[in-house]
Amino acid sequence: MTELIERYVHQVGRYLPPKERADIEAELRSLIQDMLDDRYPETPSQADVASVLAELGDPRRVATSYHKEQYLIGPSLYPWMMMVMRYGWLVVPMVMIFLSVFGVLISSQPPTVFNLLLEPIWASLQATFIFSAVVVLIFALIQHFDLEFDANTPFNALELPQIDDPRVVDRFKSVSGTALGTFFVLVFLYFLAVGGLTLRFNLSDPGDVIASPVGWMIVLVVAIIIMTVINIIALWRNTWTGSLLLTQTILEILGNIAMYFSVYMPVYQRIIADNSALSDVPLPEIIVILYAVITLVNSGIQVVKLWNYRSNNTAHLTTQSI
């Protein structure tokens, strides 16, 4: 009889928090005895013990009822994590596909369909998986150490931004812009140091380098540095102004042109040297024009919004003050 009880208590104990295990086990033993005494005043049979244990329930469930509610990532943190995740799921695969196609194209071996299709997919799957794991890990640590976001700024309803306020800084866009900018600056400083483009990041042995005009590389680095600084300023102030946005747009176009001369053209010429089938397509020009159009349309829309908003709002303010 006690043997069955011990087996049960042992099973519960396996899932208990180690610190409290002995105490909970002892209390559980005494509870089972109390239940048996209450229900079977004469010596209980094995079946009686079994029915009492069945009433208490599955050992694992009994054990979990002693645990506090624990989260890897709690409900208050979860939406933040998913925001970061969704952003990464969009950006990471694109960056990886770009990088690995670039890598295949400039490698000394002629590209095959396998290399060109499967490698980028595999690389982006891998990177997305690692990215997700790191994000979960970071948020789990935040949860574990109970860190809070923005806890020291009290909420003031009157300072809520207008729904269509174009000045509001998209934090994720700016943060990722800053991170990407820093990354590209480092990469291009490395290219400058080794005298051209390569995917092997080793200063003493950069491998097969594609020559690239130094002047345009410097323009690109400077443009990216200024754009990154503007991003940080916008983040810091939490508003975009017309002049900041305009500078940002001009720099983006300038950077785009610098990309054309320092990256697209040299890489394209290398590809053509290996693969003449592509020689009819003006790929670099297409990329540059496409990018410039997208930039102009995007910033153009925002500048116009900003302008309208400002003139509307000053009108509002004057009527209000009257």
Partner: protein, 115 residues
């Protein structure tokens, strides 16, 4: 549509969670061990499962509302709980709030919802 009985189980659980704490605290002026408390509550019409009560007792102790002591002199060792000073203060406040809530809820639930 979601299963009504499933919803009911969840809602009932939510409703009971606070009540059980209050019920337990109210009965702990005398020293009791878990099973005697279950019987005591059952006598007064509140059934509560062992699997709910024992973890609850430990939680209330951890929060400083109950104190405990192992009694080993008897035929079998038992863990005895009683209300702490802090628990008594908490109980006083909760009791007042409960009585007020019952008054409000009674008038709401019995008065119907016609204005």
């Amino acid at each position: 549509m979601a299963d009504i009985s499933e919803q009911l189980t969840k809602l009932r659980l939510e409703l009971r969670r606070g009540i059980v704490v209050l019920a337990v605290l109210s009965q702990m002026n005398t020293t009791r061990y878990g099973y005697s408390l279950i019987q005591r509550l059952a006598e007064q019409g509140l059934t509560i499962e062992e699997g709910t009560l024992y973890p609850l007792l430990r939680r209330l102790e951890e929060q400083g509302l109950l104190e405990s002591e192992w009694e080993v002199a008897e035929s079998r060792p038992r863990k005895y709980y009683r209300i702490s000073e802090a628990g008594r203060e908490v109980l006083d406040v909760l009791r007042a709030e409960w009585l007020e809530t019952v008054k409000v809820m009674n008038s709401m639930l019995q008065g119907g919802n016609h204005d």
